[in-house]
Amino acid sequence: MRLVFAAISGALFGTGLLVSGMVDTAKVRGWLDFFGAWDPTLAFVMGGAILPMALAWMMTRSRRPALGGSFPAAPEQKLGRNLILGSVMFGMGWGLSGLCPGPALAASTFNGLGGLVFIAAMALGMWAAPHLRARLSTPTPAE
């Protein structure tokens, strides 16, 4: 049952990315192009997604997940260097390609060879991240 609902969630997510136009790298880069031909579509997508999601978070207060287990713990408040450095790196790559992980995967069957090359490089980066994290945390134990 968990697998069925995970697949349904993934399918809804992918369809949303397709319908909203977020698989189109021109639209994503257009959103980031504040000093060029700015495209506000991404703000509508974010707004449309945050609304049902906020309702869902409210509903987590008085119940448990339908298939058992427990809801994710309250978010950490500490920001930390990894969050900032990682988000800067992610943003640079996002602006460069117009792709983030969700749309890259949703469009993987119709993005040609380039889309697969991006996913391969992203997978390599994801594999390397724990090693970079370990390296970043060893020299300066402060934080």
Binding site: R29, F35, G36, T41, V45, M53, M92, L96
Partner: protein, 141 residues
């Protein structure tokens, strides 16, 4: 185009419902980079099958829809050096920051997580700098 924002809201609503379903039924946060990254670095553990099912839906349904409607033009660059560099940055960055547009953006902001809000401001800012740098100054993209 005026219909872009309508499709954006509609698609965004579907994304939000997907995240709400994954949270309320499976009890998990729908973050694309976390779901994939955990499979790659082995931290997914017992959740691996659930995550693979999610990915099958994420890749499978758009593939089927596109079979019927025809593939949209995604305007992806043909410059492989750009794609490789960007892919590495996105992969490393999202895992270091523990989230991307779906995890920090959609799921984080909607629960008013400080980390989600700060991360989203930073990656949008860095993305804007990236577009200025690589499009307007260097003309690479």
């Amino acid at each position: 185009m005026p219909q872009d924002w309508i499709l954006g809201l509609l698609g965004g609503g579907l994304i939000g419902c997907a995240g709400a379903l994954y949270l309320l039924v499976n009890g998990r946060i729908m973050g694309a980079s976390g779901i994939v990254g955990g499979l790659i670095d082995g931290s997914a553990g017992a959740q691996a099958r659930e995550r693979l099912a999610f990915l099958a839906g994420l890749i499978g349904l758009p593939a089927l829809i596109v079979l019927v409607t025809g593939a949209p033009d995604t305007h992806l660059t043909g410059n492989f050096a750009v794609l490789i560099g960007a892919g590495l940055l996105v992969g490393l960055g999202t895992r270091l920051a523990n989230g991307c547009t779906s995890g920090h953006g959609v799921c984080g902001i909607s629960r008013l997580s400080l980390r989600g809000i700060v991360a989203t401001c930073i990656y949008i800012g860095a993305g804007a700098v990236s577009v200025v740098l690589f499009r307007h100054l260097l003309g690479v993209i």
